[in-house]
Every structure is written in structure tokens, then in C-alpha cells.
Amino acid sequence: MVDLLFFGLFAAVAVLCAINVVVQKHPISSALSLVGVMASLAVLYLLLGAPFIAMAQIIVYAGAVMVLFVFVIMLLNAGIEVRRGRSWMATIFGIPALLGLLGVLACLLVRWFPDAPIVKFGDFPGGSPRDFGYALFTQYLLPFEVTSVLILIAILGAVVLARKELD
């Protein structure tokens, strides 16, 4: 019951914020709405028994990535976007393609999960940081290391791109 309450509340928040991300004219509003989406998703993660992921979601996404976005928006002082569309593809096929996507996903959901099991808070204790860390550092060690290399490369790329010499 409480689950349902929370889910309904935060799902609604997420969807509204998501729509807001798209419809807002000013990028910084979109950014903050996106933060809203992420925060509410974090709550849903908690409901799904993933406390660590929930916190990581907030720390990494809301706390770091989105701050970067806001930072860049402030830096470029990006204003309202100018509507000079020259993309016939998007204008013609965009809407139908989207509707098609939504429909397909919906029918797949209906087809594959006619009677999905009920998720209750706390019926999956496996998401504790301990289990998570154990899995990460034993079974998924190699991907983990590879990811670290990826991050290193990303850092280098960012540094190289943002250097002054470029302009």
C-alpha cells in the first residue's frame, strides 16, 4: 500500500519532470527537471531494493553529471533555443516513429508481462552495498578495470578538447 503510494507519487514526478525536460525552452530548466527525474528514480530504486544504486544515482548523476551540465550552461550562458528547423526527416517521420516506438514497447510489455509479479519493498535484500561490492570485485572485476581505463581515456579526451590551444 505504502509502496503503491510512493511509486505513484514519484513515478508521477518523474514523468512530469521528464516532459518538462523536453518542453522547457531554457536549457537550465530542462537540467533541473532532469535532476528531478533522477532524484525520483533514486527513490524508485530504493523501493526496488537497490539502496546503493539509489545513492550512487544521486551522487553521480544529480551531484556530478548534472552539476557539470549546469556549469556548462552557465559558462556558455545558453539562452532560449532558436527554432530554425532544416530537418525534414524529423518533422515528417518524427511523430509517427515515436508513436510507433511507444506502441511497440507497450504491446511488448503486455505480451511479455501479462501477469508480472508484485514488487514489495524489502523482498530483495540482495542489493546491499556488501553484496554489490562482492559481485563487482569478484565476478565483474574485469569490466570494472576496463571501465577505469575508459574513464581515464575520457578524462584525457576532455582535457585535450577543452584546452585553450583549440581556438
Partner: protein, 395 residues
């Protein structure tokens, strides 16, 4: 149901104490800095200026809230709320002491014992930047924009060493729940307590220092108060703010201070565990201190300097003796002593914050960044590595 009642009660108490404390920390700060600079500090309003915070609050509330015409209204108004909200929310996972039992209802001395408490605090503090950044941006003012930019960059940069510094004691404690971490620091070896900073095998003294430095940056305190550097940016991100909105930013800053001090106490200084073991009579420290304070007050009240000291100081003396007596009540001891130790440590750290503010000059921006990335971050990393190695070695 009982849970709800208990929680709401605790909520009320904590909120009241915290908010009052916030107001009075400002008074303490002004007093301390004044004495460091050989001044009197606030002394007009009430005895020793004790009513100064009240006066400030009244002033700020009754001031006219100016809404500049060129600002982005929504964010301009949202920013301070966001800031203070994010600052206050993280106090909810901080335990102050052991459990307390009131008429058969046993309850822990904290709002919520989250099993990932440390992460919660990190998360919330990482969200804290939005208030300042937004405020700076929404004011639509060059100074405040620069302040916002600086604060966002600075907070992101210093979050890394802070997280790494926090991770090190977690390794030796082996849990993410603050209460468990504190319990892991229970006991002592002869006179040396098992606090994280003295812990075997890996004393966390370095990560403690790193954490404190990063905390200064995260709370925008001197020497890292570049977002509000007066002589460069007028007042930085809150140039355009006035009245309660301005006060909200200040509350946020002090609330953040309290939070990081609590976290430092819990992670590194053994939470509510006494400085030396009970069998050496640590339980009598609190009454002794209060009695001493009371004695001093009464002494100075008897041969006074200023006329009103004749009344006020003995009054304080009596109050202090009362507190001392309170700590001697057997039923009170298990409840009050931990709280005393916890608050003592926290207030010491707060004093350090104020002390540093009175002592150090401000960094230059590039110095700030290079310090974070080229010094603090590697050191924290190495410290984490060494800790992990030692812990693995011992276990």
C-alpha cells in the same frame, strides 16, 4: 503508529535544537573572532550579547524582501529554499548517542538509521551545490554568476577528496551505517581510544585532515570562500539577496558546518565514545567541566568588572552547577554522557572552523583548484590504497 509519534517528537526536538544552535553558532563565531582580534564582539543586546541572534532574526524577518526586476523569478526564489533544505536534510541520518528508553518505548537517538547513511550524507551534500549555483545564475548579475560558477566547480572538485577520505575509515569499520561505524570505534587500548584516527592497523589521521580541508571547501568557509569573496565579487552568489532569502543562505552554510562536523566526529573521532575509558572515570568529566565553569562564573560574579556581571555571572554559575548535577543523576548518566561527548567533539570542530576563519587568508582560485587536484586528491588516493592494503593484510 508509535514509530510515527516517536519520530515526530524527535523531529521536533532536533529541529528546535538545531535551529537555535545555528543562530547561536553565529553568536559564538562573532564572539570568538572578536576575542581573537582583541575586541568585545556583540555585547549590547542582552547580557554578553546573548540575545543578539534573536535580534538578528527579527531584523531579517522584518526587512523588506527586495525582488530585483531582472532576475529569473522561479530559480531566484527557489535557490535559497533549495540550499537550506539540502543543508538541513542530512542531519536526519546522524546519530547523536545510544538508545534512550522513555516509559518503555526504546528509541534510537537519531531520526533514521539508514544502512547507507554515509552515502546519504554524501548524496545530499553533493546536491547542496544547486542552491548556490542557481542563486548565482538566477540573480542575473556578473558577480553572482561568477560566484555560482566558482562554487559549482569548487564543490565538484572537493567532493572527490572528501569521498575518498570518507572511504578510508569505512574500510576499517566495514559498514556504511553511521551507528555501526561508531560502534566499531568502541573501546580503547590502555589510554588510547579506538577512534578511527588512532585505529589499528591504519590510523586515519591523514584522511581526517583531508576530510576537514575538503569540508572547509564544501561549506564555502574561509580559506575557501571564493564563491562569496567580498573583495572580488562583492558578496558573490548572494549579492542580490536580502532579508530572509539572504538569511536562508547563511543558515545553509552553518547547517552544513554542523553536518560536516557531526560526520567528522562520527567517522573519525569515535562519535559519542569518551576520550578515555569509563574505568578511568570519564563519566565524571562532564560534571567536572560544568562545575569548573560554574565556579569561574561565580568567582567573577563576586569580584566583578562590569556592573551587570554582578547579576548575570552568578546566574550562569548556578545554571552550570545545575547541569553538573544533572550529569550526576544515575539514570541520566547512560543517556546524557554520550550526548555530552558527542556535542563536545562537534563543538570543538566548530570552534576549529571559526578559529581557522579568524586565522587564514583566502586562496586564489587557481591555487584552490590545483590544490584540490594536484595535492589533495592524490594524497587521499594514496591514503585509501595504504589503508586498504593494511586492512587486507590484517584481516
Amino acid at each position: 503508529m508509535e514509530f510515527l509519534i516517536a519520530t515526530s517528537l524527535k523531529l521536533a526536538i532536533i529541529a528546535f535544537i538545531l535551529l537555535t544552535a545555528l543562530a547561536y553558532i553565529q553568536w559564538v563565531e562573532r564572539k570568538v573572532i572578536a576575542h581573537v582580534q582583541v575586541r568585545m564582539g556583540p555585547s549590547r543586546v542582552g547580557p554578553h550579547g546573548l540575545l543578539q541572534p534573536l535580534a538578528d532574526v527579527i531584523k531579517l524577518i522584518t526587512k523588506e524582501g527586495v525582488l530585483p526586476p531582472h532576475v529569473n523569478k522561479v530559480f531566484y526564489l527557489a535557490a535559497p529554499v533549495l540550499a537550506v533544505f539540502m543543508a538541513l536534510i542530512s542531519i536526519s541520518v546522524i546519530p547523536f548517542g545510544t538508545s534512550i528508553t522513555i516509559m518503555g518505548h526504546k528509541t534510537m537517538m537519531e531520526l533514521a538509521d539508514v544502512n547507507v547513511g554515509v552515502l546519504v550524507i554524501l548524496a545530499v551534500s553533493s546536491m547542496g551545490v544547486y542552491g548556490i549555483a542557481l542563486g548565482g545564475w538566477a540573480s542575473n548579475n556578473k558577480y553572482s554568476l561568477i560566484g555560482g560558477l566558482r562554487s559549482s566547480a569548487q564543490m565538484i572538485s572537493y567532493e572527490l577528496p572528501m569521498s575518498l577520505a570518507i572511504a578510508a575509515p569505512l574500510l576499517s569499520a566495514g559498514s556504511l551505517s553511521l551507528r555501526k561505524i561508531v560502534n566499531a570505534q568502541h573501546g580503547s587500548w590502555h589510554l588510547i581510544p579506538h577512534w578511527a584516527i588512532f585505529a589499528f592497523p591504519a590510523p586515519q589521521i591523514f584522511s581526517f585532515i583531508i576530510f576537514m580541508i575538503a569540508a572547509f571547501a564544501e561549506t564555502n568557509r574561509i580559506p575557501f570562500d571564493l564563491p562569496e569573496a567580498e573583495n572580488e565579487l562583492v558578496a558573490g552568489f548572494h549579492v542580490e539577496y536580502s532579508s530572509m532569502k539572504f538569511a536562508a543562505f547563511f543558515m545553509a552554510e552553518y547547517a552544513n558546518m554542523v553536518t560536516v562536523c557531526c560526520v567528522a566526529t562520527l567517522l573519525f573521532l569515535g562519535g559519542w565514545h569518551p576520550l578515555w575509558p569509563v574505568r578511568w572515570g570519564s563519566n565524571f568529566a562532564a560534571p567536572a567541566i560544568f562545575a569548573f565553569a560554574g565556579a569561574i562564573c561565580i568567582y567573577h560574579g563576586i569580584n566583578y568588572v562590569r556592573p551587570f556581571d554582578r547579576i548575570t555571572l552568578p546566574a550562569f554559575g548556578v545554571i552550570f552547577f545545575g547541569c553538573a548535577g544533572l550529569f550526576l543523576i544515575p539514570q541520566g548518566v547512560p543517556v546524557l554522557t554520550p550526548i555530552f561527548w558527542f556535542l563536545a567533539k562537534v563543538s570543538f570542530l566548530l570552534f576549529v572552523f571559526i578559529w581557522i576563519r579568524a586565522t587564514l587568508p583566502r586562496f586564489r582560485y587557481d591555487q584552490l583548484m590545483s590544490f584540490a587536484w594536484k595535492f589533495l586528491f592524490p594524497v587521499a588516493l594514496v591514503n585509501l590504497l595504504v589503508t586498504g592494503f593494511l586492512v587486507a593484510l590484517v584481516s
